[in-house]
């Protein structure tokens, strides 16, 4: 399997504090990885560091995306090269509609003008998959959206930008059962349209029920302590994380 992301012995700090202490992770094309772990163990830090958040510094190790060193690329370069991060708390951006934001993001990515007609058609299709009211396309990005609508809008962006590596950071947190189902449908649609790699960060396993998972990783205190197949999820469901914390 062709490798999309290869992380070796990665250390990441926020200010003076080291959060990740030598993480290894390899994601291949078309693979679905799940990163599990209790709150505050550094799962989101890993996702943000891959995207290039200015809040974190890579202090050691390697991070290669399609064979290229990620650490020298700006956030927008990473995005243009095909990395996508679905935010845990999407930011409200007044003054730009979902539709025109997505169009300019697509244009930034392709470097070409995006034809309005094709774009609109595509956007409406994707919104339908997510059961979103079309009116959201003309609303300011995330402004006044409910938690569920914000997460759906993140998934909508993922479907439109069609990344080669999509990281979903706690996309299911705070959502009711219906919203989780919709988000799962969105992820399934992404799997159907793309052979990109997926990294799903979560501390619960609800979102994974209808998804084929290739690899599961358990992170405790800034280290990946166990990697396995989908069976690891059942193990977590049965016993929680405490067994890994002790061992």
């Amino acid at each position: 399997m062709e490798t999309v992301l290869k992380i070796e012995n990665l250390s990441v700090s926020a200010g003076e504090k080291e959060i990740l202490h030598g993480v290894d992770l390899t994601i291949g094309k078309g693979e679905v990885h799940v990163l599990l772990g209790p709150n505050g163990t550094g799962k989101s830090t890993l996702g943000s560091a891959i995207m290039g958040s200015p809040e974190y510094n890579v202090t050691g190790g390697k991070m290669l995306y399609k064979g290229e060193d990620l650490t020298v690329q700006s956030v927008s370069e990473r995005a243009k090269n095909g990395i996508f991060l679905s935010f845990q708390d999407p930011i409200e951006v007044p003054g730009i509609t979902v539709s025109s934001f997505l169009r300019s993001a697509l244009e930034a990515k392709s470097g070409k003008r995006v034809r309005l007609f094709d774009f609109k058609k595509q956007l409406e299709e994707k919104m339908e998959i997510l059961g979103m009211d079309k009116a959201y396309a003309n609303r300011d990005l995330n402004v006044g959206f409910s938690g569920g609508e914000k997460k759906k809008t993140e998934i909508l962006q993922m479907l439109m930008l069609d990344p080669e590596l999509a990281i979903l950071d706690e996309t299911d947190s705070g959502l009711d059962v219906d919203a989780v189902r919709t988000v799962s449908q969105g992820i399934a649609a992404y799997k159907a349209q793309s052979d990109g790699g997926l990294l799903i960060i979560t501390h619960s396993t609800k979102i994974l029920e209808s998804l084929h998972v290739d690899f599961a990783h358990i992170m405790i205190d800034g280290n990946i302590v166990k990697t396995g197949g989908a069976e690891l999820i059942d193990e977590v469901n049965a016993h929680g994380f405490s067994v890994y914390e002790e061992g």
Binding site: S74, S76, I96
Partner: protein, 468 residues
């Protein structure tokens, strides 16, 4: 890095084109009674206006430069040329406007906007109007839109005599007096009873000559139950010497009438913009100001509304963007002089690269203004640590039966928001510009589309190069 934006990028050069002004008629710099008389002769003033000018000059000489706002040290009246007449006459046909001047306005998009979305246009170049035209169907409704000079000699002579500088008397402040002495150009608008002018009129003021002043006067009278949207735009190329703009706007809003007055000001950064705007609103009338201040080196600008009639209203929506070397002191004033009047002031200010933005508001509620409502809100965004933003609100309420509120907020661009937008592929410059445009959204929403686009272009232009 590849740069892409929401709206087409504009080139600062559009605003910076300088035309040769050596063939134009100019008075010598400085200010004397002789010069004022020359201007008066040049303009063929009626006798009352000639006297008005000379009286204003006396007042000017008796008043001090304001000492409570941004420094005016760089402005030396001995060096300002108060009157520059372009080498042409006013025309109602663009073909008759000299090539270089016409091209300037073409680049600024004025004739195109006129064809597409305006009911009439006045274009002033230095001290004189070079173009003035109003659509026939609008003129047929009895709407008058012309230059003040010819109106002073025509059918509306008496109306001008009784209204000119009645709202802003020359004794108001030194630069109002200066305006009274040397004013030239501008527009006169009269909208008769009940006439609703559905599409806007626009005047554009272009100052081309270096070291010159522009002192246009805009007098608008909207009669009972009528409606008018008036747009004012201004720009100038940059010179190394100080230029001065001391215009004056007077709006008379009749009973139940509505005036919307929009401005996108983009003077070059050697301009001292000491402009005075005032509106008088009769019973049930409404004045809406939309104001975007982007240019000039120093600005003093506080449009004032006098709510004289019962139930009259005002709304002020403004944005000020102070960049490097700019000290922009802007805001709004309102006087509640009748019962059940209401005012709503909503402003945003942005400062970057050491720019200073000061918001001043004055709300005065008179004893008789029972049931008055006033709400002032001011939000500031500072884009770096070397810029400055101040809020100076003044509230004076003389009745117990009024509802008056004030709110102010100062903030910075969140790095989280920049990260979010960049994570979708936007460059850092575009991400920041998007956030700033969003912050300015309250004003762009109030503007006709083309002007909203121009404003966003200006914001993007200002944001360019703001990243080290």
């Amino acid at each position: 890095m590849d740069e892409r934006t929401q709206v087409a990028d504009i080139d600062r050069s559009v605003y910076d084109i300088r035309n040769d002004s050596s063939r134009d008629y100019k008075l010598e710099a400085g200010l004397t009674a002789e010069l004022v008389k020359k201007i008066s002769n040049e303009k063929n003033d009626p006798e009352w206006m000639r006297e008005f000018r000379l009286r204003s000059l006396e007042i000017y000489n008796s008043l001090d430069v304001p000492d409570w706002g941004p420094a005016l040290d760089g402005l030396d009246m001995e060096n300002i040329v108060t009157y520059v007449r372009p080498n042409t006459k006013m025309s109602a046909k663009w073909e008759e406007v000299p090539e270089d001047i016409k091209n300037t306005f073409e680049r600024l998009g004025i004739p195109k906007a006129e064809r597409e979305s305006l009911a009439g246009v006045g274009a002033q170049y230095d001290s004189e109007l070079v173009y003035h035209n109003v659509r026939k169907e609008v003129a047929d409704l009895g709407v008058v839109y012309t230059d003040l000079e010819s109106a002073m000699h025509g059918e509306y002579a008496q109306m001008i005599h009784t209204h000119f500088m009645q709202l802003v008397p020359p004794a108001d402040h030194k630069f109002a007096a200066l305006h009274g002495a040397v004013w030239s150009g501008g527009s006169f608008v009269y909208v008769p009873k009940g006439v609703k002018v559905e599409i806007p009129l626009q005047s554009y003021f272009r100052l081309n000559a270096p070291g010159a002043g522009q002192f246009e006067h805009t007098l608008i009278i909207v009669d009972e139950g009528a409606y008018l949207h008036f747009i004012e735009g201004c720009s100038a190329p940059k010179y190394n010497v100080a230029n001065l703009h001391a215009g004056c706007v007077e709006l008379f809003c009749g009973r139940g009438a509505t005036i919307r007055y929009s401005t996108i000001e983009n003077w070059s950064k050697n301009m001292y913009n000491l402009n005075t705007k005032r509106a008088l609103v009769a019973e049930g009338g409404k004045v809406e100001w939309v104001s975007g201040s982007f240019g000039s080196h120093v600005s003093y600008l506080y449009p004032m509304t006098i709510l004289q009639g019962k139930g009259s209203k005002m709304e002020f929506t403004g944005i000020t963007f102070a960049g490097k070397g700019q000290n922009l002191d802007t805001g709004a004033k309102v006087l509640h002089a009748a019962p059940d009047t209401s005012s709503l002031i909503n402003t945003k200010s942005i400062s970057k690269d050491g720019g200073i933005s000061t918001f001043r508001s004055a709300v005065e509620v008179k004893k008789q203004a029972e049931g008055a409502k006033s709400s002032v809100s001011c939000e500031s965004l500072m884009l770096d640590d070397i810029s400055r933003s101040d809020t100076i609100p003044a509230i004076d309420v003389r009745t117990c039966h009024a509802d008056v509120g004030h709110e102010a907020q100062i903030g910075k661009i969140s790095s989280e928001a920049v990260f979010y937008l960049m994570s979708r592929g936007l460059s850092e410059a575009d991400a920041r510009a998007t956030i700033v445009s969003g912050f300015a959204d309250n004003v762009s929403k109030e503007l006709p589309l083309e002007y909203a686009v121009e404003m966003n272009n200006l914001i993007r232009l200002e944001m360019k190069g703001s990243i080290g």
